[in-house]
Symmetry: C2
Subunit: 337 residues, 2 copies
DNA sequence: GACTGGCACTCGCTACATTCGAGTGCCAAT
DNA sequence: ATTGGCACTCGAATGTAGCGAGTGCCAGTC
């Protein structure tokens, strides 16, 4: 059954009111607060239909209506208008992100900014190693049998590992190893390195190089370790019993699992925001929450994801706008370095 | 007024029971569960004295007794016996920490381990830059006018910053700059570097060196940036209304403030644990919690702090034992690299 | 046929009264 | 000094009643 225009207006009004007040909204209140041009009785009839169709529901018989996940979904897809950021918000973003000294700093600042602006839990993924390229590889002799291998990526990430050499090496040799490494690998995408590393080992015939290769492949590529920053968990406590049905604990637990958080960014793209509402989340513990995520990176490429998480009852238009704006700034910042 | 031996026994029993049950403990229950050898009436008299002295209190007139901060303090100082770790716990610690590939990994693993073992919020500080020495400084040319300065410390921390050169430089020059930097600074304590950097600038008369010096001093020394890892915030939700009087929010907020967390480690030493109970905390938002912290580092030096935070009603002997044990393992791990 | 005013009904919430029992303080007896 | 006994306190749990926001439905109107 098709929903006519007015029923959609009613749904929109319910979502907006509920998000604003956090209380089930009744037919009379709706008519008062929105110029719908019809009586409360009519609204009640519309509500009955919306409820039949599963867009809203009653917490208990004599209460007002509350949007369901399906209702929010319709709202997000068809009913909400894009809410442009206020100039104040734009300025806040710029002021906050300018002056970040390194990648660590950029990520930290953005995640806090995001949490602050949306008043929700924010997650920012560090630029994914899998999607980065090698800028430079550095070898630092720690002793004659140990090297520190440092990899610097084009996105500013720095990873280091200790490499145990099979036999002692004078420091001069290290210069040559470094030269070979960089000649072969600098500029290459991390995902493309395994065959290159293989070639290196075969060419050099040097057992030190084999040791290096093992470390490179094992820890930097195969087990490409993602990192995350999290902020604003305190915002979860604002709701607690209210919305999340006292289920704060499992949510906090889920937020500590990197694997779970990374899943949030699985299908992100740069430019458009991905919204997962309530049950649409794969992770059971997050079924009472919604996630708004997007990708970021220089231009329209994706080097990482970021987003926020909050109760399904959230200001979707505002949140989406903020998430996208922050992602754009972060992407721009990255391309500068 | 002096508390005789039995009154102390009563206090100890109250603390232990309250920690175990989370409920105010009455005189009868006490006599049943502990072989005190006296009647409940006697215990009641003792309780009255303990209450006068401020060691315990009644939540309301007809309820049992609950230890006060002062009561916990006395318990920690004089009444609790050290609780040795179970072999299972020792094994857990070893298994968990062995196989950490780099500093990041060590810190992450320890903080999660600590949260898991104590079932509380755990905080681990990265080795403090202020307390580390320079192992090596690396310069990576990014373009002819930009260098990436990478500092590696003896504790395994790696910090990097972009340096803008006043004038373009050929790559060969960089080698010389690097040599000079390391010759002067490698091995020096970070706190001792400022005069050395000054000397470098004067000796070299090179404006590139001046640019480097500015970055070195400004971002690596003056603003010596500390880092932290946090885990187990979900454990806070286990209590919530129960103990923390619904004050979860401010605590979560405090936990997101690095400055506040760092204060927890202000006076730590390696080897002994520092316990701050309730009101003894300087930060107002943490007055309902207790913090058990200690320092870690190779031998008996302190390069960083770690600890846990939980409700004042916590298992102090167990927590103290765990915190110290983890700190020792982390310290040992660090001296290996 | 769509909308509306009116009305009976539902049911969660609040307030108030009552009961129950764990725990206390005190006292006289040992 | 310790103890058994006892009156007392007060929070928690349970029960009852009234209120009111909100609903569903129906008959009437445009």
């Amino acid at each position: 059954m098709a929903l006519d225009e007015r029923k959609l207006d009613v749904l929109r009004a319910i979502v907006e009111d509920y998000v604003a007040t956090h209380e089930p909204v009744g037919s009379k209140a709706l008519v008062n607060r929105h110029a719908l041009g019809v009586s409360s009785a009519t609204v009640r009839n519309d509500m009955a239909v919306l409820e039949d169709e599963g867009y809203i529901r009653q917490p208990h018989t004599s209460a007002g209506r509350v949007p369901t996940d399906k209702g929010y979904r319709l709202f997000v897809d068809r009913l909400s208008k894009v809410k442009p950021l206020s100039p104040a918000e734009r300025r806040a973003i710029e002021r906050f992100l300018v002056g970040a000294v390194d990648l660590e700093d950029v990520v930290h600042r953005s995640v806090r900014l995001l949490a602050q602006l949306t008043r929700q839990v924010a997650v920012v993924q560090y630029p994914s190693l899998a999607r980065s390229s090698v800028r430079h590889l550095e070898l630092v002799p720690v002793s004659t049998t140990r090297l520190l291998l440092v990899m610097i990526t084009d996105t500013g990430r720095v990873e280091q590992r200790i490499v145990e050499l099979p036999a002692p090496r004078p420091h001069e040799d290290v210069t040559e190893l470094r030269r070979q490494l960089n000649a072969k690998l600098a500029g290459a995408k991390l995902v493309d390195t395994p065959p290159l590393v293989q070639e290196l080992v075969e060419q050099s015939q040097d057992n030190a190089m084999s040791a290096l290769a093992v470390v490179l492949l094992e820890t930097l590529v195969e087990r490409h370790e993602e990192r995350l920053a999290l902020a604003g968990t305190a915002n979860l406590a604002r709701f607690n019993a209210l919305d999340l049905a006292g289920s704060l604990r499992p949510i906090l637990e889920a937020l500590e699992e990197e694997v779970i958080l990374l899943k949030l960014f699985d299908e992100v793209q740069t430019g458009s925001a991905l919204v997962r509402i309530g049950d649409e989340n794969e992770v059971a513990d997050l079924r009472t929450t919604s996630v708004v995520s997007t990708g970021y990176g220089p231009g329209s490429t994706v080097v990482g994801g970021l987003g926020v998480l909050g109760p399904t009852r959230m200001d979707y238009p505002g949140t989406i706008a903020t998430v996208r704006a922050v992602a754009r700034y972060v992407g721009d910042l990255l391309s500068e370095r």
